[in-house]
Symmetry: C2
Subunit: 226 residues, 2 copies
DNA sequence: CGCATACGTTACCGACCGGTAACAGCCGCG
DNA sequence: CGCGGCTGTTACCGGTCGGTAACGTATGCG
């Protein structure tokens, strides 16, 4: 609830030897790895090297902690999003590819467990949960940004392309939970993105002037897995 | 565990006034609507009009019930899958479209909550859960069948097309949970399927377009490739 | 020094969890 | 009739859940 402000105005550095920060990091990790409902506050406090009482001195309730973890995840994602598209300003197609690779590397990496926001959407079905709105707003913004990128890239149907990209993104994160390692359908998700881009975007790219479907996979995949 | 066979050889009709069947139906509904971990055996028994003791007379444990619900869901899905592609034998492209529409209508309909198997994959993270293997096998089979259909349709890269279709399918089910009603990205998922099919399949769409009055969206590729 | 912040510790609460024991009634069927 | 399945009912178990009270202590700072 209340923000614990140090009286000496210590600006709360990122390292965070403070109990609250340790609890926060531990909670995010446990929620992500084992699921939100599967982790109790006792396990969080114990994992953070403290006890339940210190937990409730820093957070009003478990639901509030969950919502705050989700908000932190959203901020982190947007940071990575902005950082990934910044070097390719003026090249929307490259931005789409980059943002897709960036998102995939976060949610579909070797030790990843999918998208923490999507997973939370499955676990938190009650509409009144404080984390529910965080998830909805985040997903709506993802959709909005993908559509905007598709429009900037000159897509023949920006809404359709943006939505298709979002479906691929969500599907990649989801299949990551079921298929072990990197052997699942995500090995072909970047190829699908390129195919969609080739289909919806004007063929202004001289390098990709070849046929849309066939040769795209092997070349792009080699680049992606490197 | 053991199949309760009526001594009078009543063949256990589908209606199921039996307690076990009522519990089973109630459990599937509650698990799907509210999530597996969010529903206790008390709520299931009470929702089925009975009590917890009768629950444990029919099912060994909650985890076993969960696994059995997932198995029933898998069987039901394959039934619909087979029934949906049967009328279009010999037209693999139409089969892909139909199976996609069928799956979407089950998991992304007005009152749907996504794919129950995918949702269970998020909720049941422990690998030793009896339902875990059911989910993995089902998803692996979905992938295998989609790739087979892509190969039958003569895709230039059957694995890539099949995987891309699967990602769209999973993404559609997942976004259904976050975006209310039919306003989410799933409105464009069928369009994405058609775009992918047009990109990966040989251009034999003249005959299909003439016969199928269904999609008005497959004309988009003409604009994209021109 | 005294005071406040931050944290650890122990014990506790009511509620619910999954799961069980014991008993009583109903009903079909020999 | 009596027997055996199926069901309803009540009570109970140990454990865990989210959450709280009370007390002790270390540190920092005026």
């Amino acid at each position: 609830m209340k923000e614990a402000k140090s009286p000496s105005a210590a600006p709360c550095p990122e390292g965070g030897t403070r109990v609250r920060d340790r609890i926060f990091r531990t909670a995010r990790e446990l929620f992500y790895r084992q699921g939100i409902r599967a982790v109790g506050v006792d396990a969080i406090a114990c994992g953070a090297g403290t006890n339940k009482m210190s937990f409730y001195r820093s957070f009003g309730s478990k639901d509030e902690l969950v919502a705050e973890c989700l908000r932190a995840q959203v901020s982190e994602f947007w940071e990575h999003w902005d950082a990934s598209i910044a070097p390719h300003a003026g090249d929307p197609r490259r931005q789409i590819e980059t943002v897709f690779e960036s998102s995939m590397s976060k949610s579909c990496g070797a030790d990843a467990c999918g998208c923490p926001l999507s997973n939370a959407a499955v676990e938190l079905r009650e509409a009144e949960h404080p984390g529910h709105q965080v998830i909805r707003e985040y997903k709506a913004e993802v959709r909005r940004r993908l559509r905007a990128l598709a429009r900037d890239a000159g897509a023949s149907d920006a809404e359709a392309l943006g939505d298709a990209l979002m479906l691929l993104l969500e599907g990649s994160a989801m299949t990551r939970l079921t298929f072990a390692g990197n052997g699942g359908p995500i090995v072909n998700s970047l190829g699908a993105v390129h195919t969609l881009l080739d289909a919806y975007l004007p063929a202004r790219k001289a390098a990709a002037a070849a046929k849309a479907a066939k040769p795209a996979k092997s070349a792009r995949l080699a680049k992606a897995t490197s």
